[in-house]
Symmetry: C2
Subunit: 319 residues, 2 copies
C-alpha cells in the first residue's frame, strides 16, 4: 500500500500579478494552512492621503476572487466616481483608484492610523473578504515599517517606485534599484520561513518584486541557510516578460534578457528553477535542478496546474 | 437724482448648513468680490486617512450648487460604493462619505501632503468647482493649522467634535466646549476683516460653529475693536434650532433656549440682531438694534431675501 506524501509547508515570495496567480494556484493545490504568501511592500506608497499597498492588494484580490483578471490589478466590477471627480477638481489621477479599491485603502489607512501593524491590517482585510487565518492561505507583508524601493534612472534622477512604474509607465531607463538599508522582516514572516519545507519564488520581477523581499533582514539569510527546497519560477519567457518591465530592466542592468540569466541572478540562493517550454534546452550551472514546462497560467486551471508541477518538482528535492 | 449706496464689503462668519445658506443668499445679493466667507475649521478631523473639513465643504458645495439640499450635508447625486465596501471589510461607516464627496477629501489630502496650506487648498477646490477668486465669493478657512473643538460631556469624557456630533448623534449632554488656546486666524482672514464694512454672524451654532472662529486669534479682537457693523442672525426660532444641537446645548450650558439668550450670549460683540417673526416682541439690551423677520431660508429665493434684509439692516448702521 502507498500513501500520498504529506503536504509540505510552503512559503511563496510574491510581487504583483505573477505572484498573485501562482499564489492562487498553490492555494488550490495545498491544504489551507500550508501556504504562506510573503508579499513585497517595497512599492507601497502614500497617495491622496492613503496608504496604498499594490502587491498586497493584487494578491489578496486574486485569492478572494474579486480581482480584475483583464488588467491584472484592481477589482472586478469597478467604478471610478471618486477618482474621476478628484481629477475634475484638479487632483492627480495617474494612479487609478476605483471606488471599490478605495475601500481597501480607506480601511487600511484607518486601522494604521489607530496604531495597528500592516500585518494585522492585512489580516483584517483578508478576513473582510470572507477568509481568514486558518480558513485559507496566510498573506503577510514582508515588513510592517515602510521599506520603499527607489529607482535611479540613467539621468541620475531617483524616483519613488510608483512614480517610475505607473506615472512614467516604467519608460525611464534604470541605472540602479535602490533598496533601504534598514528593511526588517516581520516576526510572522520569520516564523513562516523557519517552518517552511519549500520556498517558492514567484515569476515576479527579480529586481523590484523579489529583491525587496530578500533585502528585508533576515529573509535572505534564512533562505540561504536553512534546508528548505528553494525553487524559482522564471518571469522571462522567450526573452520577454509576460507583463511589466523585467526584460527591459535586465537589458538596462547589463544582463541578458533570458530565463537563464534569471537563474544566474538568483545563483546559489535557489535549488531548482522552473522555466518555460518556449525556452526548452536552457542550460544552467551544475547542481541547479531544472523543470521545463508551460509556465503561462491560463485561468484557475492553469494556475493550479503550474502550482502542482512546481510542488512536485520541489517535492523531489525534499526526498 | 438718487443713486444706490455702494455695496459694502461683507465678511460672513459661518458654520455648516445655516452658514452655507446665508452665504448663498449673500452671494446672490452682493457683487462677486464683496463677500468673504470665513468658515469654522474646529470640526475638521482626520478620518480614514483623509483630512475632512465638513463646514468648508458644506459652504463650498452650496455656493457651487452641488450640495444635497435635503440632508444639508454632502453632494447631490451621491453614491456610496467606496464607503459601503469599506464597511463590509470591517471599516467604520458612521461618518457618511459618498464617492463624490470623497473626491474632495482625496484632492485636499493630496495637496496638504504636498505642503500647501488649507487656504490654498480651499481656493483650489473652489476653482475646481468652476468658480474662483474674483469670480465669486472668497471662501476662507478660519485657520490653516488644525484647531480642533473638543466636547466635554457631563460624564467628564472629552470627545473629538465629530465623535460627539456624528457618531454619538450629539446625544451626550455637554458640560463644556473646549477650544484650543493656540488657534490663529490666517493672514487672509485678518485682511478680510480689516477691510470689512459689515460682519455678519450666520445662524450657526454659537458654541461649536461661531465661538471656534472668534477664538482664532485675533478675530474676536478685530470684530470688537473695528468700526464695522456687526450683525448676528439667530439660530434659535421659537426655542428650537432648525437643525442641530444649539437649543439642546443652551439648556445644558445653563442658558435659556431662546433668541434673546443668543443675543445676550454675543453681548457687546454685536451691534444688531436678526430674529424670527415667531419670536416677535423679543426684547434686548439697550443699544442693540433688532430686526424681526422671517429667518427661515426656503430655497434660493428665501436665501437671497433674508440676505438682502440683513444687508439693509446692517446698512442702516453704516450711515
Amino acid at each position: 500500500m502507498t500513501t500520498d506524501p504529506p503536504s509540505p509547508h510552503v512559503v511563496l515570495l510574491a510581487g504583483g500579478v505573477g505572484g498573485a496567480r501562482l499564489a492562487d494556484g498553490l492555494a488550490r493545490a495545498l491544504p489551507p494552512d500550508h501556504l504562506t504568501v510573503v508579499v513585497n511592500t517595497g512599492d507601497d506608497f502614500r497617495h491622496l492621503g492613503l496608504t496604498i499597498c499594490p502587491d498586497l492588494d493584487t494578491v489578496t484580490y486574486m485569492l478572494a476572487g474579486v480581482n480584475n483578471d483583464e488588467t491584472g490589478w484592481g477589482r472586478v466590477g469597478e467604478s471610478w466616481r471618486a477618482l474621476d471627480e478628484a481629477a475634475r477638481l484638479g487632483g492627480p489621477d495617474w494612479f487609478r483608484l476605483g471606488d471599490l479599491d478605495l475601500a481597501t485603502h480607506l480601511a487600511r489607512s484607518h486601522w494604521l492610523a489607530e496604531g495597528e501593524t500592516l500585518t494585522a491590517v492585512t489580516r483584517r482585510l483578508w478576513a473582510g473578504f470572507g477568509a481568514g487565518f486558518g480558513a485559507g492561505p496566510v498573506v503577510l507583508p514582508m515588513s510592517d515599517a515602510p521599506a520603499p524601493t527607489l529607482i535611479e534612472t540613467d539621468t541620475g534622477d531617483v524616483l519613488p517606485f510608483q512614480i517610475w512604474f505607473v506615472r512614467e509607465r516604467w519608460q525611464p531607463a534604470v541605472r540602479r534599484v535602490v533598496l533601504p538599508e534598514d528593511a526588517r522582516a516581520t516576526a510572522a514572516v520569520i516564523r513562516a520561513l523557519e517552518a517552511a519545507d519549500v520556498v517558492i519564488i514567484a515569476p515576479s520581477n527579480p529586481f523590484v518584486s523579489i529583491d525587496p523581499i530578500l533585502n528585508a533582514y533576515p529573509i535572505r539569510a534564512l533562505i540561504e541557510d536553512v534546508p528548505q527546497a528553494v525553487v524559482a519560477v522564471s518571469p522571462i519567457i522567450a526573452g520577454q516578460a509576460l507583463k511589466g518591465p523585467a526584460a527591459k530592466m535586465m537589458a538596462e542592468l547589463g544582463l541578458a534578457a533570458s530565463a537563464a540569466a534569471v537563474a544566474g541572478y538568483y545563483g546559489h540562493l535557489i535549488d531548482g528553477f522552473v522555466y518555460d517550454q518556449q525556452d526548452a534546452g536552457m542550460t544552467a550551472e551544475d547542481g541547479l535542478a531544472l523543470l521545463c514546462t508551460d509556465t503561462i497560467m491560463r485561468g484557475a486551471t492553469g494556475r493550479e496546474r503550474l502550482a502542482r508541477e512546481v510542488l512536485a518538482f520541489a517535492g523531489e528535492m525534499l526526498d
